[in-house]
């Protein structure tokens, strides 16, 4: 399985990380090397195996329907990069 530049560009778009050609080339080399290593898994036949999603030996615990967090807006916005007391502010989306 070879990962080409087109794939790198596609993945970087999906992960919202910008790549220029130089970076994409290096990434392609690194990723191909890593995937070569990962390909080892193909040696195993796992057709009849159930996937393991969690090693947590417990069941999903419920929370009761009580409001606990009340107006902590100043805390929520404290680390915001923009200076606005009520909202998060981002550049416009192009629709």
């Amino acid at each position: 399985m070879t990962i080409d530049l087109k794939t790198i560009k596609h993945i970087s778009k999906l992960s919202r990380i910008s790549v220029d050609d130089k970076k994409a080339k290096k990434l392609a080399i690194d990723l191909n090397s890593i995937f070569n290593f990962i390909e080892k898994l193909n040696e195993l036949n796992t057709d009849k195996v159930e996937p393991l999603t969690s090693v947590a030996a417990t069941t999903l615990k419920f929370r009761t329907d009580v409001v606990k967090s009340k107006d902590i807006r100043s805390q929520i916005l404290k680390n915001s990069p923009e200076d606005n007391e009520d909202f998060f502010v981002v550049p416009k989306v192009i629709e």
């Binding site: 999906l14 999603t53 929370r63 967090s69 107006d71 902590i72 929520i76 989306v93």
Partner: protein, 491 residues
């Protein structure tokens, strides 16, 4: 376009097309706190005041599931006569948007909490079954506000993390009318169950509408387009109409339809493609490793089943069987739980010797008109069920005429006055003494001898004149039936 009673077809030259519609309804779960965090869900709060650290996706924050939301989803599933899945899984749906703080939405992809079910629609020409594919729980996103700042978008995360039930129908709907009835039925069921308030203005209920077209008679599905986030039934219908015609036009021109996501522009009344979503389809779903599979027991489900109130379909059947109302009337009476309650209270208060038809007509006719006018819910009705029952009984036992009743009704609105008292105070008792009426009519005929002769000679329309005169002279209190009988006798 041809439209007959049950069909909605688009015809062009030699081809007749039918529309195939599937709906994905997003219903906000009625609960105190959000699906995976303990912040409030109330509508209309100041921006970002109902946001917890978990909602804002701060580093190290983790989801913990709200038991009540799970119960609400199962109850809704029961109301949809659907299969409840004892084991379901939460998956992450990964994409980037300003109102999605985690960079993923916690949803259910492969294993939803509720499976297949059915909804019955009461259409004018009979009942129609619409299949439900599934219902799953997911997080709602926050709100992006694009028009407050020219350079920027403002983000309010109050809604981020609120529990949504996504109800996916099978592509069984064929007309805009069916869509309206379907949405209203879903709304009604959920309001009965108390699982969603169905308030479309507040955004508690919205739908993604999937539309495709095909030649009538074909059983293959055409390419569908998804119209996202339509928040009123009227807009759904308009969007379907526009989109279906757009697709038919493309087919007739020999062009292909791109499977895409579209928006309904409410100002231009047209659908248009959403540009930025090319990669949006690769959501890279995988089970959320911060959560474990959701498991519920048979006991858990049975307990919820026991809590379910009588639902619209069953109530309708009971009203028809027990109260002998027509299916049409029953549908209206059960569409809203409060209306059904009001009706049953009226019936109870009417006691023996009741006139069911009259009661139904007064509720669906006069009362509904007043409520609409004053923008009130039936639970806020200015006239109580008790007093409306009294009014109906007064008509039934001949104390007042239907016409007088209307006057009394108007007077009852202010302060829910007892109609019996109004009748006595205003002396509105119907005059039903045959002797008195005969005397009255004799006088009228005497005063209008020429007209009486004209009538006897064949001018039948003049009957109405005499009835009118009798009403005028009696101040509207004459018993109309008797007037008619006596007049017929005397003329």
């Amino acid at each position: 376009m041809t439209k007959d009673n049950s069909e909605y077809l688009i015809s062009r030259d030699n081809n007749i097309y039918e529309i195939v519609i599937g709906l994905e309804v997003h219903a906000q779960v009625t609960s105190n706190s959000k699906l995976f965090s303990a912040s409030s869900t109330t509508f209309g709060a100041e921006p970002n005041t109902q946001v917890s650290l978990v909602d804002a996706a701060f580093p190290g924050m983790l989801p913990v599931i709200n038991e009540f939301c799970v119960k609400q989803a199962i109850k809704t599933g029961i109301g949809l006569k659907a299969q409840i899945n004892k084991k379901s899984v939460f998956d992450r749906k990964n994409y980037f948007y300003a109102d999605l703080p985690q960079g993923y939405q916690i949803s259910q992809f492969k294993y939803p909490i509720v499976g297949e079910g059915t909804v019955i629609l009461d259409m004018p020409n009979g009942q129609k079954e619409v299949g439900i594919e599934r219902l799953h729980l997911e997080q709602d996103a926050g709100k992006s506000i694009h028009d407050m700042d020219p350079q920027n978008t403002l983000v309010d995360l109050n809604r981020s993390g609120v529990a949504l039930m996504e109800i996916v129908s099978k592509p069984d709907l064929r007309t805009p009318d069916e869509v309206s009835v379907y949405v209203k039925k879903l709304r009604s069921i959920m309001r009965y169950l108390g699982t969603c308030d169905g308030n479309m203005q507040e955004g508690s209920l919205r739908a993604d509408v999937n539309v495709s077209v095909r030649i009538k008679g074909s059983d293959k599905l055409g390419t569908r387009c998804e119209i996202k986030n339509v928040n009123s039934i009227k807009f759904m219908q308009m969007a379907i109409n526009y989109e279906a015609n757009r697709q038919v036009d493309l087919i007739e021109e020999g062009k292909t339809i791109n499977q895409e996501t579209r928006l309904f522009d409410t100002k231009k009344n047209e659908t248009r493609s959403m540009r930025s979503k090319e990669d949006a389809h690769d959501y890279r779903y995988f089970p959320d490793p911060d959560l474990l599979p959701l498991e519920v027991t048979d006991e858990f489900i049975e307990k919820l089943k026991a809590d379910i109130p009588e639902l619209p379909d069953d109530k309708k059947k009971r009203f028809i069987d027990k109260f002998k109302v027509s299916p049409y009337e029953a549908t209206i009476l059960v569409s809203d739980m409060e209306t059904a309650k009001y009706f049953e209270e009226v019936v109870a208060k009417m006691g023996k010797n009741q006139d069911m038809k009259l009661a139904v007509n007064w509720i669906i006719g006069e009362l509904f008109a007043v409520l609409n006018n004053k923008n009130l819910e039936i639970s806020e009705s200015p006239i109580s069920a008790k007093n409306l029952a009294k009014l109906v009984n007064l008509i039934k036992n001949g104390t007042i005429s239907g016409k007088i009743a209307k006057t009394i009704f108007e007077l009852m609105i202010d302060g829910d006055k007892d109609p019996q008292i109004i009748v006595e105070e205003k002396g509105l008792k119907q005059e039903s003494d045959p002797k008195a009426l005969e005397a009255l009519i004799d006088k009228i005929i005497n005063d209008n001898r020429e007209k009486a002769i004209e009538y006897k000679q064949g001018k039948e329309k003049l009957f109405g004149f005499f009835v009118g005169q009798a009403m005028k002279v009696s101040g509207g209190k004459a018993n109309p039936q008797l007037i008619n009988e006596i007049l017929k006798k005397k003329l």
